[in-house]
């Protein structure tokens, strides 16, 4: 089943980087993902996120405030 991953952020450099990192690791692990960058403030607010970049996987907020570590990303992708 394809995972739906949203990266929330208002367009800062770290948010773009987060998207890239997740996509790259997913490719390495051969996990089928759909990564979306979400910049709409109302949507971001809706998740109650206050520090960006934040990562939402299947509508659950798993991370916020920094570029996630490789280890974390691998755990999410393999879950």
């Amino acid at each position: 089943m394809m995972k739906e991953i949203k990266v929330l952020g208002t367009g800062c450099a770290k948010c773009t980087k987060t998207v890239d990192v997740i996509t790259k690791i997913a490719n390495e692990l051969n996990v089928d993902v759909h990564v979306v960058k979400e910049t709409d403030l109302e949507v971001i607010m809706g998740y109650g996120v206050m520090t960006t970049p934040a990562v939402i996987i299947d509508e659950v907020n798993v991370h916020s405030g920094s570029i996630p570590s490789r280890q974390d990303i691998e755990t999410w992708l393999q879950a």
């Binding site: 208002t10 770290k14 403030l41 971001i44 607010m45 109650g48 996120v49 206050m50 520090t51």
Partner: protein, 329 residues
Amino acid sequence: MLEIFTDFSTWLVVDIFGLSKETKLGDALHFFIEDTTKIFFLLLVMIYLIALIRASMNVERVRDYLAGKHKGVGYILGSSFGAITPFCSCSSIPVFLGFTSAGIPVGITMSFLITSPLINEVAVLLLLSLLGWKFTLIYVLVGMSVGILGGVFLDAIRAERWLQSFAAKALERGQNTSIVKAKNSTTLSLKERHTFAKEEMLEIFGRVWKWVIIGVGLGSALHGFVPDGWIQEHLGDGQWWSVPSAVLLGIPLYSNATGVIPVMESLITQGLPIGTTLAFCMSTVAASFPEFILLKQVMQWRLLAILFVLLLVAFTLLGWIFNFLTPFI
């Protein structure tokens, strides 16, 4: 203990480069090397230690704590948290919305957001090592007062009228529901604190080192190449117009506190009055066009203009007050 950096710089400039400290270049270079090595050292050590202590502090906790607080203490708390909670300025919009949708009044949120760039552990640390505890205390008190009074003022004029409509709706929803998400507060182990502190140190250092170079570079250029006594002679009396001019000059310039403090040091030793220096530096740090463009997403032009004028007036007033008070301190 910090003399070691002066000695190191003297050794490098005089013994290795063969320059005299009496020459302009030698003097400027000495200032530059002494300050950058000292600041880099202090930054690395202190960011780590401070991060170790405040590892469990984050904006979510601040929000939960501020929500539902009485207004009177709210401004003071908002400003205090602004001083001690770190967050990247690129997060200021989500933080604004997060606070707003928890029903926290706009004034209290702004107390937090105005104080935050002005006061942080790096700024305090640099002030202490470059300008001494007395000046540091003044800086912190003034920075917090601007945040607190700014917040009180914005609520007094009912600034929430001029939020963008979705933010205003979020505020209204937040005020009518009293659900505060209680985050399960986990206690951190020493190892987790160490990991956090190490990452924090690398992250902050990676972000501010270039500002230190720019700031110290400007400071040493001022130090070495502006003729001795020029500033003292022309601006040393704290002429009334020098303060608003300094603020107007400072607003389009943008720097963070780390970059501006070495410049402050240089300006003060050159004889620029404390009030004028504070006014210039605080307007450089607190008000910037990129920040205002970001805030446009949540505020209407009218509120942005008010905020802009508010900061302008506040920094001018504090400059005048300090220039007036200097003889008595």
